[in-house]
């Protein structure tokens, strides 16, 4: 029986960070392989998909691939022009992502490889490429059950929930949690008592909805790009402060949190500091949450 696992191939948010000081964590942009009973599911196609593609070709074992795209920002699709299986006629590759038709998904994927942006277009792909109906609310792939929900990020962005091997995995690489809470705190002047009460309820309800979406997740792979100092400058850019993420994961009784979409400005030492701060919060709250740094080539067993 083949082993089932999750492997991180790209963990950086926004842009690549191929610097000597960053390589323990890794410099590639988002790509996570979820391999269950020999079915290869790929979450996002950032530059991390390039080494994954090369590995798939050298293994010559898996010829059917499903790629889930959280959205179409460059850091999530920029590995596709160099994804070797797409240029190999033995492969069947399916894409799923946010959009209102298959044609729209194709258009978004083709766009980055058109002249004058790239010398080779998707018409050079010889693999069998399919674009799955983006209106379906659930997908089944091998024994995996896949659903999705809307993340807080500019444009339309999905978080994916994958049920596999009696575990729940959530992949939500770009998500600005607690947005309303911070907006309310910033603007909370000049409102009536009734308005203030309703905002408090609205905020609580929104937070409960966010917590419910990730409740009891076994493996949560979540955006944790910003420090509190970063977030002050970049509120509204669509990424989370790690403190908010770890607190939300504790409230949601998540079992394992993987800090993801690391800021490319943060070197290995800084990512370790963020991780230690998260551990401190977990200890203070006496939570059983296990917090990990998502690092390139890190593999998590699903067996």
């Amino acid at each position: 029986m083949a082993k089932s696992y999750i492997r991180f191939w790209g963990v950086r948010g926004s842009y690549t960070a191929p610097f000597k000081t960053h390589l323990e964590v890794g410099g590639n942009t988002p790509c996570v392989e979820i391999n269950v009973d020999d079915h290869v599911l790929i979450c996002d196609a950032g530059t991390g998909i390039i080494p994954l593609g090369n590995k798939l070709i050298s293994d010559a074992k898996h010829k059917e691939l499903l790629i889930l795209l959280s959205h179409f920002h460059w850091d999530h699709i920029s590995g596709l022009p160099f994804f070797a299986p797409a240029f190999n006629s033995q492969y069947n590759i399916s894409f799923f992502g946010p959009g209102d038709s298959k044609e729209v998904i194709k258009k978004y994927i083709d766009g980055q490889m058109k002249a004058p942006y790239f010398p080779v277009g998707t018409e050079e792909w010889v693999a069998k490429i399919s674009y799955l109906n983006p209106k379906q609310k659930k997908l089944n792939y091998g024994s995996m059950e896949i659903s999705y929900y809307n993340a807080h990020h500019p444009g339309i962005t999905y978080g994916y929930k994958i049920k596999a091997k009696n575990k729940t995995i959530i992949y939500i690489p770009d998500n600005e949690c607690l947005f309303l809470d911070k907006a309310i705190k910033e603007k909370m002047t000049g409102f009536t008592e009734e308005e203030t009460t309703l905002f408090t309820d609205m905020n609580r309800e929104e937070y409960q909805a966010e917590v419910k979406a990730i409740a009891n997740t076994d493996i949560l792979i979540h955006d944790a790009q910003y420090t509190p100092q970063d977030y002050k400058k970049k509120k509204g850019w669509g990424h989370s402060c790690y403190i908010d993420v770890v607190n939300m994961a504790i409230d949601a009784k998540v079992k394992n949190l993987f800090l993801f979409s690391h800021d490319p400005n943060n070197d290995d030492e800084m990512v370790s500091t963020i991780h230690r701060e998260c551990q401190k919060i977990i200890a203070e709250k006496k939570s059983s949450l296990k917090c990990h740094i998502a690092k390139e080539v890190l593999e998590i067993s699903l067996d």
Binding site: I156, A183, T192
Partner: protein, 124 residues
Amino acid sequence: MDEYKLTVALVDDNATSRKFFLRSVGNLSIDLKTYKDTDSAMEYLGNNKPSLLFLNIIMPDKNGLMFLKELRKMPLHSDTKVIMITSKDYTQDRTIAFELGALDFIVKPMSMRSITSIMLSYIK
């Protein structure tokens, strides 16, 4: 006597937000129809054109911008007056909303007075 009232629809998964709108409308001569998701809203919007439609952006079942895109493909709603309402103020979302013909963009938290003032300015 609903036939004498103008109809305004709101699609927002946040129950308190729906309550906030209902309280904002108060005694105005407006029939406010509220929906918690796009599926239930579509049951009404499939055959009805409100004077004004408020659409939240981030909802669990469907993103409001995607829903607006679908509505615009329906002849009935090609010119329906739409205002986006959101807790996330992203410039790109504003751009997409305005490209889809949204008239305005309200960011939570907002006062009840601002809601009624926007309603009245767009449906008069």
